[in-house]
């Protein structure tokens, strides 16, 4: 009996044993949640630059965080922070496509009050946001390469702890409303005002839904 115990101990010492437990898992998706409007969109493209879950923090903590970013502008902290992901990927969806997975975050335990997605051109001739469809019976394409930060409040806050390790977050975009206030002539004419109206519409109509 003793020799068996010693042999077992020897085996554990030499071979080692490991027990691993998974951490947090936040699946980030994008979905087309358009309702019917005058603009009948056919497809959309998003240049996803980064996605971030923002911890709930007091104003003081926010200020400290901002100050830290100013003093240490390198990506030092972010490079290790798994509540943020720099993805630089272009995602295209046709109207009616199902929800699409973007990436997975593994944030620190705690409460998160905002979800952010930053859209930017991922290549020289790419766009941060683009949509194609039919407006007033005419085929139109609207695109911008402006940097667009979309921030959605999570209410109630999303909390990760040992009994709640995973969640699905879906950014719901509504491309059918992205040309609200614009006509086919406006889109064809282009210009800064049109582009800004387009970006405002994108920001205004984007929301986040959370599923656990």
């Amino acid at each position: 009996m003793t020799s068996k115990l010693l042999a077992l101990l020897g085996l554990v010492m030499l071979a080692g044993c490991v027990d691993r437990a998974d951490g947090t898992w936040a699946q980030i998706n994008v979905a087309d949640g358009s309702n019917e409007t005058a603009f009948e969109h056919a497809s959309l493209t998003l240049g996803v630059a980064n996605i971030e879950l923002v911890p709930c923090a007091s104003e003081l903590a926010r200020a400290a965080r901002w100050l830290g970013d100013v003093v240490l502008p390198s990506a030092y902290a972010h490079a290790w922070d798994r509540s943020v992901a720099f993805s630089a990927q272009e995602t295209s969806m046709a109207a009616g496509d199902p929800e699409r997975a973007l990436l997975v975050l593994s944030p620190a335990g705690g409460r998160y009050c905002e979800a952010r997605i930053a859209l930017a051109a991922t290549a020289e001739h790419a766009s941060s946001v683009a949509v194609r469809g039919t407006l007033d019976g005419r085929a139109v394409t609207m695109a911008t390469n402006l940097h667009v930060d979309l921030t959605s409040t999570l209410d109630p806050p999303l909390e990760f702890h040992l009994d709640a390790l995973s969640a699905d977050l879906t950014f719901v975009v509504r491309p059918a409303e992205w040309l609200d206030g614009l006509t086919a002539e406006d889109v064809e004419a282009g210009g800064e005002a049109v582009e800004l109206q387009f970006v405002r519409n994108v920001a205004r109509t984007t929301s986040v839904i959370v599923r656990r």
Binding site: M13, L14, G16, C17, R20, G23
Partner: protein, 296 residues
């Protein structure tokens, strides 16, 4: 390779003792209670010891990349004096470690740690019996016997979740002991230099300086106070420098040493983190150590 080394070292550490003298203090001619590592040598002295240490450590930025570590180390040591000038010794650790990550993931690992084998050569001894001054040179190896734990994809877990350094290190140093009953003092300076790495993480060179003062008011009881300083080179993982590694850390350790009967020395140590000048965010908690050493 690791099995052969470990088995070989266990065999070395299990030296059959030469016929023992009446007691270790009688043989040295000095009543000082010596803890593991600072024994006075006499030919044939064989000492085994078991130490248990619990410690905690935290690296990284809270809420960003922090890793909390809790470690229990059981260390079996064997020392044998080939002569009154040469001690051979081994340390065989069994390490249990828990790493908790900021994303609430956890790794629990346990295995043989890095086995150390070293020799201590006493180059100066002011007199044969009851020496007052002892100067020794130390040299040895730290062997990569600790298991390198990997994830499901075969990638090594972070160094914080490893029980060993996965490196072959050359150890060298010098020590001085002073005995003036009821007082004694021990000073040592040691360095470790990795000469071979067996994984994607690379530990760097390490320097250790220790000073300990001991007061022994009774034959059976001694009080000891140590100051240890450790300088670590930064760790590299997959070619990148770990921003939370490297630097200087000091520890102050009050200790009680007891000898309930001849040849058995018990110790209880509390290690308190003191001055630190480390890179990045790296904190160590209070450690406790219990040990028993027995002269065969």
């Amino acid at each position: 390779m690791r099995w052969i080394l470990a088995v070989g070292l266990v065999a070395v550490s299990s030296f059959v003792a030469a016929p023992a003298d009446a007691c270790s203090t009688c043989s040295t001619g000095d009543p000082t209670l010596t803890v593991t590592g600072v024994e006075q040598p006499f030919e044939g002295r064989t000492r085994v010891s078991l130490q248990m240490q619990h410690r905690t450590e935290s690296t990284g930025v809270s809420g960003v990349d922090a890793i909390d570590i809790s470690e229990q180390r059981f260390e079996l040591s064997g020392a044998y004096a080939l002569s009154e000038r040469l001690f051979l010794a081994t340390k065989i650790p069994l390490v249990r470690r828990r790493a908790r990550y900021v994303n609430l993931a956890r790794d629990d690992v346990m295995s043989l740690g890095d086995v150390e084998a070293f020799a201590k050569w006493f180059v100066f001894r002011d007199r044969s019996l009851a020496p007052r001054h002892l100067v020794a040179l130390n040299g040895g190896l730290s062997l990569p016997t600790g298991v390198v734990f990997e994830d499901e994809l075969g990638r090594p877990l972070p160094l914080e979740a490893q029980v060993g350094s996965a490196s072959l290190d050359v150890l060298a140093g010098v020590s001085y002991s002073w005995f003036f009953s009821p007082f004694s003092m021990f000073v040592s300076a040691n360095a470790g230099l990795p000469v071979w790495h067996g994984s994607t993480f690379r530990t760097g060179a390490v320097g250790l300086v220790s000073w300990a003062m001991q007061y022994q008011p009774f034959d059976m009881v001694a009080l000891r106070l140590s100051l240890d300083a450790r300088i670590d080179q930064a760790v590299r993982e997959e070619g990148e420098v770990d921003p939370h590694s490297g630097g200087l850390a000091t520890v102050v350790s009050p200790e009680v040493v007891l000898s309930p009967f001849d040849d058995l020395v018990l110790r209880a140590v509390v290690m308190l983190p003191a001055y630190r000048a480390v890179r990045g965010d790296h904190d160590e908690g209070v450690s406790v150590l219990f040990g028993a050493a027995y002269d065969i």
